[in-house]
Symmetry: C2
Subunit: 240 residues, 2 copies
DNA sequence: CCTCAATATTGAGTGTACTCAGAATTGAGT
DNA sequence: ACTCAATTCTGAGTACACTCAATATTGAGG
């Protein structure tokens, strides 16, 4: 009998000891970080606390996330990924996904729908959200952030797609009417939608933080966000 | 003879010894910070270096700016203030300021004009600019930042004003045409302009940083910025 | 000129994000 | 089983932003 019967039960298709240990450690760190960030906030959580909670040396944490914000991005990536997998499930996508096919509702509504999970999440964890937003828009290029950016890019693509649909509806009259005025004629139509999508994301992140700081006069945040979306939809619709 | 003849030469209208010393110290710190940030960048400048360059104890620096970013904001406030004073000089304002009066040029051009100094500065000092943008949009509420935000608010007001002018031109036809489609009818007209202005600022900050990270495909940044402005102008013009 | 409260300055001390040289572990080759 | 190179882990060490108790400076009132 071989001492390596392990290898039989966990075949070569699965990971070796080392890889498995690594994955477990990664999972522990991820869970610890998630829990601590959630209950004590980003600033009040120290890397050594995370290490202790994950039962790992401090240096090890830095091997999985080179930076405290990177650790946060690792958590965000995991959560966002889980959310994506949960919502993009086949059964639902049949009803919702195809975009143009589901013509039901105003373009702005359909965009609001897209960003609504983001808005909800950011409101729930506003302290973390500030750090996340900061990092998304102005962070340095690092692997975990990159993965979060991929999520953001996908979101922006969906928004852009709906902006395009909206443009199709509103086209003709208005497009023609504003054409001369808009100056920059003859651009690829996708460009305006992409710009609009990025504007919406940046705007939403900024406005949410603004409201968090009480810098929104009387009105509700949703009203402001809605106005923002309406404006971009109108702008993208009118654009040539 | 009085020992206090000083008091005569520097009358009560001027500041006392203490205040003067304080102002001098402040000036030294400001100059040191400005120089060091400019030549070595934000991250690679340490507070102790600033203290040494200003010939002041480290703790003293923190009395004038509670935080390293606050120190940066102090510098930005000073520079922006100087710029404002230089450009808002009476002679020029007679030609440029009144807004609607100077109907020359497209609305988008007139807005691009407004943000052009900001864009130039951010390009020149892109590392610093990232930190500044970060702090403007997502920083914690602190005195120097507050003063910078005042500058930003003023800029946004100017942009909003020009957006309103533009709306006046394009009004009628389009406004009426899109009314039903835009959904949220009967809003105060200023709201859309204010939102648009904030969108432009946030968008410009984000896009500039995006370009800094090489995340802009082929095109020139100016093209992207221009498209952004066009989009908002169109959106604000069409908005009810 | 002296006193004293108010205020400003100082720099050694503290917490914490991050580094890195060595120790430990692994798996492939023999 | 043994060797060895590659990888992973570790935690004491470092740098630096920020604090704070002690000290120095000022100006007003006697």
């Amino acid at each position: 009998m071989e001492t390596r019967d392990d290898t039989e039960l966990a075949p070569s298709a699965t990971l070796g000891r080392r890889e498995r240990a690594k994955a477990e450690k990664r999972a522990r760190i991820l869970a610890a970080a998630r829990a601590l960030f959630e209950e004590r906030g980003f600033e009040r959580t120290s890397m050594s606390e995370v290490a202790r909670a994950a039962d790992v040396a401090e240096g090890t944490v830095f091997q999985y996330a080179a930076t405290k914000v990177e650790l946060l991005m690792m958590v965000v990536d995991a959560l966002w990924g889980a959310h994506e997998r949960a919502t993009t499930t086949p059964s639902l996508s049949a009803f919702v996904a195809p975009g143009a096919a589901t013509a039901g509702g105003e373009t702005a509504d359909r965009i609001a729908e897209l960003i609504s999970p983001l808005v909800t999440a950011m409101r729930r964890w506003s302290e973390l959200a500030t750090w996340v937003a900061r990092e998304i828009l102005f962070g340095a290029d690092m692997p975990h952030r990159r993965r979060v950016l991929d999520h953001v890019d996908r979101l922006e693509e969906q928004i852009a797609a709906r902006l395009q649909d909206g443009r199709a509806d509103a086209s003709g009259a208005i497009g023609a009417a504003r054409d001369g005025a808009t100056g920059t004629a003859g651009e690829e139509p996708g460009a305006a939608a992409a710009t609009g999508a990025r504007l919406i994301v940046a705007g939403v992140l900024a406005e949410l933080n603004r409201s968090r700081q009480g810098r929104i006069d009387g009105e509700d945040v949703d009203v402001v966000l809605r106005r923002l979306i309406d404006l971009v939809v109108a702008g993208a619709g009118a654009a040539r």
